[in-house]
């Protein structure tokens, strides 16, 4: 456990807007797969990734109801990654930029996603093997 590395990710994109979001989650999953502790600092629109009130919907074009459509939600992806980390004995930490949360009104977040600020990103990065920043384009 002690020789496992920690990676920090800083991410800015919101859910449902960009393929960068999906790629970001793939990277988190890949890091866990490689037995790496993961720390995430969600900045700007990325704070909505953990918003607890995301809800799935049906899709008339697809001819499927809510259950059948099983619409992807980023909060569920976070939960899945949290569970994967626990199963593998890894740390998976997530901090939202608090001011970014406030201005978007997405204060209601899922469990184990905390509130913080840029000093937390600096702390995360200082204690990590490396850091990947993914800015909005």
């Amino acid at each position: 456990m002690n020789d496992r590395k920690t990676l920090t990710f800083a991410f800015m994109d919101p859910p449902f807007e960009s393929e960068r979001t999906v790629t970001f989650f793939r990277l988190l999953d890949a890091a866990l797969e490689k037995d790496t502790h993961v720390r995430v600092f969600a900045y700007e629109g990325a704070v909505a990734l953990a918003f607890a009130k995301q809800s799935p919907h049906g899709n008339a074009v697809h001819g499927r109801n809510t259950e059948e459509e099983a619409h992807p939600l980023t909060k569920d992806w976070i939960v899945a990654l949290q569970q994967k980390a626990r199963t593998k004995g890894l740390n998976f930490e997530w901090i939202n930029c608090g001011l970014c949360v406030d201005e978007r009104g997405v204060n209601d977040v899922i469990e184990d996603c905390g509130r913080g600020g840029p000093p937390d990103l600096w702390r995360y990065a200082s204690q990590s093997f490396n850091t990947l920043t993914i800015g909005t384009r």
Binding site: P118, P119, L121, W122, S126, T131, G135
Partner: protein
């Protein structure tokens, strides 16, 4: 740990946030003791020669009172000990090379970037 903050996009959400979000992030981390350097490249070099504050947004009866002031934020960073560089090649490509630099911003050629990148522990490309 030394980190190089590379800002190559200018005016990303500056109207809504009333600042450049990465300059803001850098100021905040500097306040927490971070050892940081800023590199303005690409469209971001405009910040090095900007002479006017952001215009205030007005929508119907709503008017912005505190638009972004990038020059102030860069000055604050420089005064707090954060070195700020701007890529001269990117200024030339944009026809901005004859404009006066904000005092304290250091010019750097694309060729010299290697040394700057080598001088830090991590490069954060925003």
């Amino acid at each position: 740990m030394k980190v190089l903050q590379v800002i190559d996009q200018a005016f990303r959400t500056t109207t809504e946030e009333q600042d450049d979000t990465i300059l803001w992030l850098t100021q905040s981390m500097r306040g927490a003791g971070g050892n940081l350097t800023v590199l303005l490249s690409g469209h971001g070099v405009y910040y090095a020669v900007q002479q006017t504050p952001q215009p205030a947004l007005t929508l119907a009866s709503w008017s912005q009172t505190e638009p972004a002031d990038i020059t102030r934020d860069l000055n604050n960073l420089i005064e707090s000990g954060v070195p700020v560089y701007a890529v001269t090649d990117d200024l030339e490509e944009r026809g901005l090379s004859t404009r006066q630099f904000l005092p304290g911003v250091q010019a750097i050629s694309r060729q010299s970037l290697v040394n700057l990148y080598e001088s830090v522990d991590q490069v954060w490309q925003w």
